[in-house]
């Protein structure tokens, strides 16, 4: 019997349980990552939606920053959703400091407006077969600029909202808030291929 692939969910703040439920639904084993040693068993990591300023401060405070960054640089697949995308970005529009700074993208925070402008839309996501993907945008960021090795996997109204750079995947929207598990399955496949 083949053992299940272990996926970590960064468990600092935000929609942790939702990601854990979706990853289990697609057949992964889940570890909640609260401390650096929790990363040891993990083959891939999800950075969930939440408040990026809060999560960014706390990963530094709890000595998760360096271990996560070095694992990503060694090739561990990572999937950032909304706040997670902001954590991964090498550049944040109109902001001097960045968080993990590993993905060659410039993101603009709260790029579609405040909460009343938050929305749902069906998008075509490259690499997913079947119907359009139901994307939930909540005070969402967008990608303003990207490096040449970054592929765009989803756009909304001309704005870049989904990207992949080698083993790093990021979306402006929240796949953990829908029942559609195709993006979680896509990430699990990325991890299994890595």
């Amino acid at each position: 019997m083949r053992s299940l692939t272990t996926i970590g969910i960064l468990d600092v703040q935000g929609a942790v349980r939702e990601h854990a439920d979706r990853m289990r639904a697609v057949g992964a084993d889940v570890v909640l990552v609260k401390h650096a040693q929790d990363l040891d068993a993990v083959k891939g990591l999800i950075l969930p939606g939440g408040e990026s300023t809060t999560i960014g401060k706390l990963i530094r405070k709890y000595d998760l920053y360096e271990p996560i960054r070095s694992r990503i640089e060694q090739g561990m697949p990572v999937f950032g959703t909304c706040a997670g995308m902001i954590l991964l970005a090498k550049s944040i529009h109109q902001q001097d400091d960045v968080h993990l700074g590993v993905m060659d993208i410039t993101v603009d925070r709260n790029s579609f407006g405040r909460q009343r402008e938050s929305f749902e839309a069906d998008l075509n996501v490259a690499g997913l077969s079947g119907d359009a993907y139901p994307a939930v945008f909540i005070r969402a960021p967008q990608v303003l600029a990207k490096g040449e090795h970054v592929d765009v996997i989803a756009t909304y109204d001309g704005h870049i909202v989904g990207v992949r750079e080698n083993s790093m995947l990021a979306t402006s929207f929240h796949p953990e808030l829908t029942e559609d598990t195709r993006l979680h399955a896509y990430f699990l496949a990325m991890v299994n291929e890595a």
């Binding site: 600092v12 703040q13 408040e51 706390l58 009343r116 939930v136 909540i138």
Partner: protein, 294 residues
């Protein structure tokens, strides 16, 4: 095509706040301190609950100038309070672009029978509840987030504990019931059958539930998380303490690490004097904010 104001978008916003602390602030400077301390959102107010208590009289929606200053000062979400049933205060806050409206018992109610029909709004609402029936009535009206009420502005955690334990116990009871019993329980709670049926299947509330009303120390915040809260509102506690920034950081860390008792011991050290607090038995029935709401 994009659709705004759906249940998923409104409830999802609250899901992104989980394991976080939402802090009451009365100006831009406090909002920046709260953001720096790691708050996931701020509640923009004219006065914190303990000062509302001290001032007496009718408490209303904050001056929009204060709310706007707070919105300009921080990039985290900004919440603001309207009076219970005050449809127009809610519309004003929505028009200003606040991220979440708290239809709150901390302010003097504007309607003695009805709450705002929150389904009519694009902006999401959070509402207070003392028990599951009240929580489900608010969810039926469209609340996208619940907070147990506690007793605001007292610095006394006892009511917050009572309300959280009550809600959790009622959730467990419904999960364990036979489906045959749900209609009668719906009548008993004064709450829609469909929501009871959903809880019977999932075992949890359909929206995020924070604790509020009386959190005065990091240990209080951790206690509420231990009892099943998804996060914590801290009202008067932070900016009534000696060192708000240090205190705010300690509450944030305590909320996220509520089972790490060594850390909680460290966080509880040298915080200075917490707010004095009020023993509940000294409050008259008409001074209890938690009784407001129908």
């Amino acid at each position: 095509m994009a659709v705004v104001g759906t249940d998923r978008v409104k409830r999802g916003m609250a899901q992104m706040q989980k394991n976080g602390v939402i802090m009451d602030v009365i100006n831009a400077e406090q909002a920046k301190i709260a953001e720096a301390a790691g708050a996931v959102a701020v509640m923009a107010l004219e006065r914190v609950p303990s000062d509302i208590r001290a001032a007496g009289g009718v408490a209303r929606m904050a001056d929009p100038t204060i709310v706007e200053q707070v919105m300009k000062a921080v990039t985290i979400p900004v919440m603001a309070k309207c009076r219970i049933g005050h449809i127009v205060e809610a519309r004003i806050l929505e028009a200003m672009g606040v991220d979440y409206i708290d239809e709150s018992e901390v302010l003097t109610p504007a309607d003695d029978k009805f709450h705002v029909n929150k389904r009519d709004y694009t902006v999401p609402f959070v509402c207070g509840a003392r028990d599951l029936g009240e929580a489900l009535r608010r969810i039926a009206e469209g609340a996208a987030m619940i907070r147990t009420k506690g007793e605001p502005g007292t610095g006394n955690i006892v009511e917050a504990v009572k309300h959280m334990r009550t809600v959790q116990s009622q959730l467990r009871k419904i999960a364990a019931m036979s489906e045959d019993e749900l209609v009668a329980e719906s009548k008993n709670l004064g709450a829609p059958y469909e929501l009871l049926l959903e809880i019977h299947k999932t075992g949890t509330l359909p929206v995020v539930n924070f604790a509020a009303g009386g959190v005065a120390t990091p240990a209080d915040a951790a206690l509420m998380m231990e009892l099943g809260a998804d996060g914590v509102f801290v009202g008067s506690g932070i900016f009534k303490s000696d060192n708000p920034e240090k205190f705010g950081r300690a509450v944030v860390e305590a909320t996220m690490n509520f089972k790490d008792y060594d850390l909680l011991a460290k966080l509880s050290k040298d915080l200075g004097t917490p707010m004095k607090g009020i023993e509940l038995s000294t409050l008259g029935a008409n001074e209890r904010m938690a009784e407001r709401g129908w």
